[in-house]
């Protein structure tokens, strides 16, 4: 079983990866450090998962090599579950990529990382409503301190493919 960690650069994806795998890899907050992808392993509910830290990308239309690598990894792992890591202070921007991945037919779990920053900036997100409308698990995390990571891992086996027609209907009836 495989998990792909995907998200924009600078959303703390590597930190989530570190927390999930406990591996000794480096994490930086300037763009581009995750160009080489990293692989780690973890066990969720007795099942072993291979986790790939996919290079940061903005969309599924590649603009540079790192993004191309990201897409290649996505294409090579059709049976994987994707953890889509978003910056909780910029949910709209991140959702674009999440939506694209959902459209590709991957089961997705959304991690709203840097949740503490969002709280500090008085950004309120209705998690329950977001989960219902998207039809995927949405978990708030603070990867730097490890908050929400075990819940995130726990949601991975529950992720399912989303029917796009249904999704569109749900969103429009909000």
């Amino acid at each position: 079983m495989k998990i792909l960690l995907m998200g924009h650069p600078n959303v703390g994806k590597s930190a989530v990866f570190n927390r999930l795998t406990g591996a000794n890899i480096t994490e930086s907050n300037y763009p581009g450090t995750t160009v080489d992808y990293t692989v780690g392993y973890t066990i969720i509910g007795g099942q072993e998962y291979e986790i790939i830290d996919v290079p940061g990308t903005f969309s599924t239309e590649p603009k540079d090599e790192a993004e191309q690598v990201a897409l290649d990894i996505l294409a090579d792992n059709e049976d994987a579950t994707v953890i889509s890591v978003l910056d909780a202070t910029k949910v709209e921007r991140g959702l674009y990529l999440s939506l694209e991945i959902i459209e590709e037919g991957f089961p997705v779990v959304i991690a709203l990382n840097m949740w503490d920053d969002a709280e500090k900036r008085n950004i309120h997100i209705d998690l329950e409503r977001l989960r219902k409308v998207l039809g995927v698990p949405v978990v708030p995390t603070v990867a730097i301190s490890g908050k929400g990571i075990s819940e995130l891992a726990g949601q991975v086996p529950r992720a399912e493919r989303v029917d796009l027609k249904e999704l569109k209907r749900r969103i429009e009836s909000l």
Binding site: N10, N24, I25, T26, E27, S28, N29, Y30, P31, G32, V35, K63, D64, E65, A66, K90, V91, E92, L95, Y96, L99, E100, E103, D117, R121, N122, I123, H124, I125, D126, R129, L130, V133, L134, I144, L164, K165, K168, I171, E172, L174
Partner: protein, 409 residues
């Protein structure tokens, strides 16, 4: 079924409107402070303060270990002990491993186990630890992207954008990760330009460490001349090389307190990686030069290049030797230079030559590796060598000319 871009944004707008509520950000001292660091009037002096802190820390920390302890360990214990117990004095093996039997300090002995070990452990190691410590702090506190925004305007003049400052700063530690990180730049043109400018004009931390400990009085001038060269040739390359230099828009993350554990882990990984490469290269460098010396190759090369060196660059012909070892390690080459008898200005010129003449072998192999992704190895290498040749002759010669005009050469 898939959505179109427009459809997707519409759906997301809808979701966001219904589930997210922005409470409006309070202006706090912290958020204003963050703004002040990117506004030029306050940001540039602040950046100067950060850089001053950087160098000052580098100097105190490296000085503490190198001058306080390592110089003594190597000069008073290691060298005399090795000279005493090592057999076969006068043989080629002794010459390669221990070097000059009369030497009184580890610097001038020039054997693999004397100067080689001293440069690698005594000088380079403290410099690299200090460097990576500061870099990690700058990265993890979120200052690095701010610096990028600040220098954006300058870098625009040479067809690069602010984030090109990341490879530049990394190169100050070691050119290898610097060249590697050019892949985050957008176009082939930018990657090529940055790769070549870095490997020519930015001296690495090891070299800076050696310069600061041997010729502190000249280091400032050398750095200045190299930085001016960086911009002059950047400006020219931007005009000459075809291709686009697009702008990117990136967010500046808020300041955060660096996590001690994270800082430590990052530093350890970087230092380990660096050290595994550095020691073998320094030792091999010293060994190779000694072998070449014994075989008479160096004398032959010195004579061959003597006219160019003495007339065009105005430096002694012995400078050829460090130039050869410079291919393996630039720090080592600077160390060798300082042992040659010459005037201050000649020393400045030859250190500049060492920096610009050819990237060290580790950087060179990284350029080959990255070149494959940036327009083909042959094109990148051919282009680099061409630029390199022009730069060495013009920029090196110009310095000689400057010296003559100032009456010091």
């Amino acid at each position: 079924m898939k959505f179109t871009t427009e459809e997707r944004w519409k759906l997301i707008d809808r979701i966001a409107r219904e589930t997210i509520e922005y409470g409006g950000e309070e202006t706090t001292t912290k958020s204003i402070l963050a703004e002040l660091t990117v506004k030029p009037a306050t940001g540039i002096p602040f950046a100067v303060a950060i850089l001053y802190g950087f160098w000052s820390f580098f100097g105190s920390f490296a000085g503490f270990f190198t001058d306080g302890f390592f110089v003594r360990i190597f000069d008073e214990y290691w060298l005399p002990w090795l000279q005493g117990v090592f057999p076969y004095e006068g043989s080629w093996l002794y010459y390669i491993l221990v070097g000059d039997p009369e030497a009184t300090n580890s610097f001038e002995a020039f054997g693999m186990l004397t100067s080689g070990l001293f440069v690698a452990i005594g000088i380079v190691l403290p410099a690299i630890i200090a460097f990576y410590f500061i870099i990690t702090l700058l990265e993890d506190s979120g200052y690095m992207p701010r610096l990028a925004v600040l220098v954006d305007t300058f870098l625009h003049k040479i067809g690069l954008h602010g984030f090109a400052v990341v490879p530049m700063i990394l190169s100050l530690g070691c050119n290898v990760p610097g060249v590697e990180s050019t892949r985050t730049l957008e176009t082939k043109k930018q990657r090529f330009m940055m790769m070549i400018l870095l490997s020519i004009f930015i001296p690495c931390g090891a070299q800076i460490g050696v310069m600061l400990s041997l010729i502190p009085e000249y280091t400032g001038y050398i750095m200045l001349y190299l930085m001016v060269g960086f911009f002059v040739f950047g400006f020219i390359l931007n005009r000459v090389i075809p291709g686009k230099s697009p702008e990117i828009i990136t967010d500046v993350p808020p300041f955060r307190a660096p996590e001690p554990q994270n800082v430590q882990r990052k530093m350890m990984t970087k230092i380990k990686g660096f050290f595994a490469d550095a020691i073998p290269f320094v030792l091999l460098g010293v060994g190779l030069v000694n072998v070449l010396y014994l075989g008479g190759v160096i004398d032959w090369l010195s004579d061959l290049f003597a006219p160019v060196f003495t007339t065009w660059f105005g430096v002694p012909k012995e400078t050829v030797i460090p130039l050869i070892s410079g291919f393996l390690r630039k720090d080592l080459a600077v160390a060798q230079l300082s042992a040659i008898d010459m005037t201050g200005f000649q020393l400045i010129t030859s250190v500049v030559l060492i920096s610009i003449y050819f990237p060290c072998i580790a950087t060179f192999s990284m350029i080959v590796k990255e070149g494959r992704k940036s327009g083909g190895v042959l094109r990148v290498l051919g282009g680099s060598l061409l630029v390199l040749g022009v730069v060495v002759f013009l920029w090196g010669g110009l310095l000689h000319l400057l010296g003559m005009l100032l009456g010091v050469a």
